[in-house]
Structures are given as structure tokens and as C-alpha cells.
Symmetry: C2
Subunit: 556 residues, 2 copies
């Protein structure tokens, strides 16, 4: 009765039964039996990355768009470490990932061979779940448990550590035979009760300055629309996260004001707020600490209400809040709701966010720009906004130079916007790669800062190899400009040339067109509006990956 299926094949079969379709890998010797099994489990597509942070970032982008995990295949502790920064971003995005890390054979661990390290210690900071497989017989159930853990709301990185001998040994229990594994029941997001919405409802209907702070791994148009209806009824203000994991955006999608990156601007957005209603979001904090700036962005005297936690069904929570507000308006027509007769002293706030949709939005055209004009951060944004293809996915790691893109593209055809959730730069190109693997019929655009691009530029090779329709726009300002700004902000004495050299990307300048060519991706440099227009038009018209190096210069 016993089967002779080696553990490596059991792993892939079990993952396939769960619904995993892609294995993003940068394997080594200890993963060779899993690699060999790829030919015997053709339901799983193996995709190679030249460095592990490409692998993990692509798994993140895939998860954001597919709504389910890819598997990774990483080589021991150092391989995991190489991919940890993008696992950090994925964890912050609540992206489900089945993160498979090969290890030495069980009996080899104690010899402290050169590649031995404490994988658990490395994995813990980025994993919501960790398990070390103990027996080949456990591989299928452990893989299913990893899938379930990754998918458990709000989603996370489930790290499965797999000793190599378990992949070459065979299982004696044929209930784990290929294709016969029972897929795990994946838990759904909880419905909103047990959360009691009454306190939040009361706050919203109080007529006092109230802000809804909304976050979710996928902030859909439906969610924003529900939240804005609540705001329309109550005069509340709506704010979204600084860096959403995935946000519906563009023409017809109600706009979502995002919390500013800079603490002083974020404080201004929340100034005067008396009630803060959290929907899927955690209480807002500043990205970094600065001398004399508060870390906690909730203004003094403001009360916080949790309408939905990160693992809750936020759309349901918003719908229930809307129902509650409508009921309240019915039951108490003379209540504090705007449109009622008692706006209260702070009711004027309602005016602030009731700008007509699109009022601050540039028209979707770049005709007003001189084609011979030199590019800058603003005109580059206008050009892309005017040319953005239908149903695009945008991976945004534009950082400082990318400041204007989201606003400019508010009237572009509706698209998904994927941000740098965890602040660990080097995310943009891998996430674009993974998004393109998840959505082969949708064009993907990476808006990428030059400094950040250099962390994981190897992603372009995978784009070329898999013939992915990704257009990378490098915003070339020749510097870590965000750090120059930070240096100015923290260093009142003035930045010196010596220190500044540490933040410049010149001498030599980076030639991204050559770099792309080296990885098999055609590239073009654009110095003017017209050149960018032409380069992007060409990139969007042709299948496969392209790169455009846009010389946008400094913002400041």
C-alpha cells in the first residue's frame, strides 16, 4: 500500500491541491528535490529569480493581485535573509505567501556546516506562522497548514522550513499521494460583529469633527464609495493609508485622500479631529520619528473607535456603518448630521472633504506640455497619466520623484495601485513582476525611483524570461532624494558636501538603459516630454517588458 513518492513531489502536489499555481524560486542544493519535482507536478509553474528579494517581492505582487499565495523556494538561512526585506513589505501588506525555506538534512544540522544558520530567528520578524517539517509524512499536511495560515485574514507570510532529507525520502502513507490531498478550509474574513459598531456610529453622528481612517489589503472602489457615503451623511473626513497594498484608482473610482508620509503634513490632515474611526486600519503613527515631532498622529483629545480590525470584513463594516447612519438620520431627523439643523460648531469641516470629485485633478491629457520641454517629476506624471492603458496595474516605488503620479492619474482609466507597504525599498520591480505573473492580460507599469531600482534590478531578467508585459519607468534624479530631504530636515546646521555625496547617485551616473539591455529588456532614455511620450507609447504598444529612463531631475 505504501507509495514511493519523494517528499519534494509531495510538497508540490499538496500545494497544488491547495490552489498554488506558481513557485517562485532561487534554489540551492538543499532544494534540488523540490526543483526536480517541478517536472512531475506540471500544474505548478516554476519561475526563477536571480536574487531572493526578487522572488519574495514577486510573491508579494502576485498575492496582492491573485488574492492567494504563490510558493517561494529559498536556500537556507542566507537565501531567506536575501529575501527578507520584501517579505517584510509583504507582511505589512498582509499578502499571503507560502514561504518555503530549504534546510540541511535533519541529521546534518548538528555539524554546523558552512551554510548552517538559525533560520527560525531570521524568519520570525517577517512571518505570521513558522513550522519546521519533522517527517516526510508530514509534508503534505504541513504545506496545507502553511497555505491556511497564509490565507487566514488578514493574510501573512507562512514560513515552512523543509530539511532536505525529508524531500528525498518517500512517504509511507499513501493518503498523501499526488493529487489526493484534501485542500484545507481557508478561513474567511470575519463578519463585523463581534465588533460593536455603536460607539463608532455615535461618534460619526455626533456632528463633531470625525475622521474615518480606512486600510485594507485591497481597498476597492466599493469600499471607498461606502466610506464616502458615510462621510456625505455625517460630515466626516475620509483618509486612507500612506502606502496602500492595493488600491483601486482612476476614472470613476472615488478618490481616497491618503495620509501624508511626512509627519508634519499628516498631523495637519488630522488636526482638529475629535473622533477617529478605524476601519481595517491601525491607529495612525508617523513613518519615522523626528526631533520635536510626535510619533502618535492622533491629536490630543481625540477618541479612537475600532469599527473593523485588519482581519475583519471591512466592506461589511462600512456597509453596516452606512446603514446605521441612514437609520440614525431617519430616527433623529433633527440630529447632528449635516443637512440636519444642528451642524455644531465644527460642522464646517464637512466642507473640507466635499470637494467635487476630480476638482483638484489635472485633465487626462499632456497636450498642454511642450514636447521639447525638459522632463520633470510633474510633466512625467502628466505624460504617463495621458497614456496609461486600460486596466493597468501600477507598482509605485517612485518615492520623492513619484510625488505627482497618483494625482495625475486620477482621471486615467481605472487601475490598481500597489505601494511600498513596509518602507523597505527594492519592492517596486519585483512586485510588478509578480503582478504580471498573476494578471497576464493586464499591462503592468512600475514607477520606480532610481535609488530603489538598484536594490532589485535583477527582476527585469525574470520579466524578460517570462515575457511579462511590464513597463518600468525609472525616475532618474541622480540621488536618494528622499534622504537629501530627510538630511535637511534633521540637520539644522546644513548638509555638507561630504555627507551629501553619500546620498548622490552620480559619479558615475546610472545608465539604466544599459542595465536593462544586460538583462534582456529593451530600454530607452527620455529627456523631454516628447521623448517620454514616444518611449511609453512604444512600450505600451509592444508586448513584453520595456524600460524607460526618465531624466526628471530633482524635485527640490
Amino acid at each position: 500500500m505504501s507509495t514511493s513518492i519523494p517528499g519534494g513531489e509531495i510538497l508540490l502536489s499538496a500545494l497544488s491541491s491547495c490552489g498554488v499555481e506558481i513557485c517562485l524560486a532561487n534554489p540551492g542544493t538543499s532544494e534540488m528535490h523540490a526543483v526536480a519535482a517541478l517536472s512531475r507536478v506540471p500544474q505548478i509553474r516554476g519561475v526563477l529569480g536571480l536574487q531572493e528579494n526578487v522572488v519574495t517581492g514577486a510573491a508579494d505582487g502576485y498575492a496582492r493581485m491573485a488574492g492567494k499565495p504563490a510558493a517561494t523556494l529559498l536556500h537556507l538561512g542566507p537565501g531567506l535573509a536575501n529575501g527578507t526585506a520584501n517579505l517584510h513589505n509583504a507582511a505589512r501588506a498582509h499578502s499571503p505567501i507560502v514561504n518555503v525555506v530549504g534546510d540541511h538534512a535533519t541529521y546534518h544540522k548538528r555539524y554546523d556546516a558552512p551554510l548552517e544558520s538559525d533560520i527560525e530567528s531570521l524568519a520570525r520578524p517577517v512571518s505570521s506562522w513558522i513550522r519546521r517539517v519533522a517527517r516526510t509524512d508530514d509534508i503534505a499536511s504541513d504545506a496545507a497548514a502553511a497555505y491556511e495560515a497564509a490565507m487566514t485574514p488578514p493574510g501573512g507570510v507562512a514560513t515552512l522550513i523543509l530539511p532536505s532529507d525529508l524531500t528525498w525520502n518517500t512517504s509511507e502513507d499513501d493518503s498523501y499521494a499526488s493529487g489526493r490531498v484534501i485542500p484545507p478550509r481557508v478561513p474567511h474574513a470575519r463578519l463585523v460583529p463581534p465588533v460593536d459598531l455603536e460607539p463608532a456610529l455615535k461618534a460619526l453622528c455626533s456632528g463633531k469633527p470625525t475622521t474615518i481612517f480606512l486600510d485594507h489589503p485591497y481597498i476597492s472602489a466599493a469600499m471607498i464609495s461606502l466610506a464616502r457615503q458615510v462621510c456625505s451623511l455625517t460630515g466626516a473626513k475620509l483618509i486612507g493609508p500612506t502606502f496602500p497594498a492595493r488600491l483601486e484608482h482612476g476614472l470613476g473610482v472615488p478618490t481616497l485622500e491618503r495620509l501624508a508620509y511626512l509627519a508634519e503634513l499628516a498631523s495637519a490632515q488630522l488636526a482638529g479631529c475629535r473622533h477617529l474611526v478605524l476601519v481595517g486600519a491601525r491607529s495612525p503613527v508617523s513613518f519615522f520619528a523626528y526631533p520635536g515631532q510626535p510619533s502618535d498622529l492622533v491629536p490630543a483629545g481625540c477618541r479612537t473607535y475600532v469599527a473593523a480590525g485588519p482581519a475583519d470584513d471591512c466592506e461589511k463594516a462600512l456597509a453596516d456603518l452606512l446603514d446605521g447612519c441612514l437609520l440614525h438620520a431617519h430616527q433623529a431627523p433633527g440630529s447632528n448630521l449635516p443637512g440636519g439643523d444642528a451642524q455644531g460648531g465644527d460642522g464646517g469641516q464637512a466642507h473640507l472633504e466635499h470637494q467635487p470629485p476630480g476638482s483638484a485633478i489635472a485633465p487626462r491629457s499632456s497636450e498642454h506640455l511642450d514636447p521639447d520641454g525638459r522632463l520633470d517629476a510633474r510633466s512625467a506624471a502628466s505624460v504617463l497619466a495621458a497614456l496609461l492603458p486600460e486596466s493597468a496595474i501600477v507598482s509605485d516605488e517612485g518615492n520623492t520623484a513619484g510625488l505627482y503620479f497618483a494625482d495625475a492619474m486620477a482621471t486615467s482609466p481605472p487601475h490598481d495601485w500597489l505601494c511600498l507597504t513596509g518602507g523597505a525599498i527594492g519592492q517596486g520591480l519585483p512586485v510588478a513582476t509578480g503582478a504580471a505573473l498573476a494578471c497576464p492580460d493586464r499591462p503592468v507599469i512600475a514607477i520606480e525611483a532610481d535609488g530603489s531600482a538598484m536594490y532589485t534590478f535583477q527582476a527585469l531578467w525574470t520579466q524578460a524570461r517570462e515575457d511579462l508585459d511590464v513597463t518600468t519607468i525609472i525616475l532618474d534624479n541622480g540621488a536618494y532624494e528622499v534622504l537629501e530631504m530627510e538630511l535637511m530636515r534633521v540637520n539644522a546646521e546644513g548638509a555638507s558636501p561630504h555627507a551629501n555625496a553619500m546620498l548622490e547617485l552620480r559619479d558615475p551616473s546610472l545608465d539604466f538603459v544599459s542595465l536593462a539591455r544586460g538583462l534582456g529588456v529593451p530600454g530607452q532614455r527620455a529627456e523631454t516630454v516628447g521623448e517620454l511620450r514616444e518611449a511609453l507609447s512604444k512600450a505600451f504598444a509592444e508586448p513584453g517588458p520595456h524600460l524607460v529612463q526618465a531624466a526628471v531631475g530633482r524635485l527640490f
Copy 2:
């Protein structure tokens, strides 16, 4: 009496007082006060890396050649994670590094801001010492303690976690003022006693098959010579590590047979050994586990003796062993020493390692090669061996394709050979960069496998920026050939095309000349012996970095 020196400046001043001359950095917002201080502490040279694994690998290469630490400057947990693989290699090389990781402000930690992570958990697997600075007043003493910890034999990675507010606050204790810090007493390697050499001496003089296994962060010609003298007297065999951190090599340096990477070959090297004398080395184990292969390479029935541990003074241990052997030979002229009358049944082993120096060594010339002949791994090695400049430093991450270089270069002018100590690929180019920073007057050559090069290719930009005399030879075989070999070894059923695609670096092929150009380094492709000869001659004749992509094809 109180000073107003900010913590960032105190850090650099204290490190400078200890003897640190270089700060290799990829900083972020939380490190801006340390970056700003670079202009006020000009004794420390700031060197920028485009990705953290370049920074840490360069710190490793610097330490191997300078014999003292550089400081790093990394950005929070993700920055540390990006540099962890090369810290792993550095830890295995016992390279001293003062690894400074910036963190959020002390009061900001509890808010779990997007870049928050458990830095200690990430640092522990690669650090021999970790400290989180608690007060600005402690920065100088903690920096000195980190320096001391890094330098404590056998050397290691000392991780200093520095919250940002401590760098912008000033110290109230002016004994820490710039330049007035008392440098720490750096401990020296212990002299050999307390280790009792007698049992090892007895083993060596037993006439039984005995092997000396030697390792050290810097295996000098003097050490090899002492060890070989012991072998000559006793008939013992000498074996060095598979991947030495730094090894003197070349014409006039006694050769050191190295333990094979493959377990079956390593087992053959040690077969029949009855006594194993460890000098600075740990007991030999196989790099990976393989089905049916032992992990412990010590043959059954072989006894192990520790003549010197990794932290001991190995040269002194070898000198003492030699004295002991000489004394033994005097006291017991009729003993079991070779040359005496009682070689014992296994004495024939003595013959094995008493090959005349250079017997298996190709002459230092490539004149016998047809200049129009297509390159392969062997001819590429001959060409480099013939052209190697005087006093070179060789960073060897040639892996499979690099198999023949060490033997070919045994008659090249004496040079230092730096290996992939921890098996985490992506070390070669950063280590070459750091070695060039430590030794600006010596030419540095990186022998680099194509797959490994792609992990940390960004190092070339730092080489261009700092105008380092590094010649990178990319051994282009279009594959992770070591993994193809491993796949064949573990997968008796035969490797399938599907799985093999995961190990190929084609489709598209990597164009390293374009990649180098993108980073400001001139490159050239060589397909024939003559082209490689010409390209290397040009690279060695000109200052600054160069790259040569040598199309060597597959070895197997």
C-alpha cells in the same frame, strides 16, 4: 562643562579613535545624523553601496586584508536583512566588522511604524556580539566595546543597534568628546598553552596515518611552511579548508591541498587517516548532506586532537608542534618517524603528500594555447595565471567554472586568495571591493561565476565611484552549473528539461558588458584565448575597475 556633540558624531569619533578608517554605508532616515557627522569626522571615509549586501561583503573583504574592522551603516531591520548573507560569510571567515544598524527612536519603537522589526532576531544568527545602545552617553563606550568584540579572536561581527534619537541628542559627559576616547585594549590571540600539545605530538610521531587539518582567518606562507615541515618530519598529510578566508598562494608559497567541496572526494582525501590533528580548524564535515553520504568526514576509527582552536595563535601552535617533533626525533632516533626505521604498515601514506612542490602545476604561461581557440574553464585559468600582476589579491567566487584557477595560479607571483567562506553566493564582487579599499596599491581580481555575480552586481558601481583597481572576470557558462551537478547527484531519475530550466541563466542570456557599462565600468567580452589575453592585459594595464565576460561554456 557639558559638550554639545550629537550622538552621530560621537559614534564616528569613537570608532576613529579605535582605528576605524572606513564606514561602508547604505543609510536611511534613521541614520541621517551619522551620515551628517561624516563631514565633521573626516578621518572616516564614507563609502556608499547601492545595496546592503555590497556594504557588508565589502566590510568582509576589507577586514580580511586590513586585519581590522570597517564600520557599516545599515538602515533598520530590512537594511540589516539585505546585508545578512554576506555577514554570514564574514562570520564564517571570522572577519572583524563593527556592524552599525540604525533603528527608530527609542520612544518610536512601540508604535510599530511600517519599518519596525525585531533587529535582534535578525542579527543574532550572524553576530558574535550584539548591543542596543541605551543612552547617547553610552555611544562612545559601546562603539569601543563593539570594536573590541569584533577584534576578539578569532574575530567576528559585532552588531551595534543605534536608535536615531540617541544620534541627534547630545552627550552631557564631555569625556566622550571627539578624539578623547580611550581606545579599547584589543585582545590578542591566545598563546597555545593552555592547549596541551602532547597528545597531538604523540599522534604525529606515531607513524600511523595522520592528517593535519589547518584553518585560520589568514593562512600565511609561514603557517603552511611550518605545517609542511611537521609533515616532512612525521609523514603526516596536510589539508586546508575548502574555502579559506585568506590564503597566501603562488610562486614560492608552499602549496596547501584543500579539502574537496564534494563529500565523496573529501572522504577520499581523509580515507585511511588514523589521527586527525586540528590546527585552527573545526572537525571536517561535508558542505551539504547527500543521500547515503556521511556528514562527518572523519573516518571511522580515526582519533581527533585539537592542537589549536579557531581563536588560538595557530602559527605558534605549529611552531611548537615542529619543535616537539624535532625534539622527539632527537630523543628517539629509532622512533616511528619517517626516515627512522619504523614507518609502520601505513607509512606509504607519507609518499602521497610528498609530491615535489609544483609537480602537478602547469607552467606559468599560456603560450601553448591557440589564441583562436575557444575559451573553456581550463584555458581561462591558464590565461589569467600567465598574466596575473605582482602582489595581486584574488577574490574567488568562480564556483564550478573556477575549478582550475587555484592550481593554474600556483606559479603566478605570490598573491592572496579570498574564498566564499560561508557558501552564501554573492560574496565575490563585494569582497573584491572591500579588499581594494583596504589595499589601494594592490591589484584586485575577482574570479566570478555568472550566477553568483547577479546577487551583488551593484558592487561595480562602488568600484567605479571609488576608482578601485578591480578586474572582474565573469565566468559565463550560462547556468547555475553547480546546481545542475547537484541535481544530477541527487536525482537518480535524471534531470528533466523542466527542472533544468530553473538552473539555466539563458533565455535571455546575461550581457555583463552592458550591465557593467550601466554602472560605469568598462567591459569586454572574450570568446577566445586571444581575446581574454588581450582584455585582461588591457584591464591590468589601466587603473580603475574593468570587467571581462569570459565565455567559458559548461564544465560538464
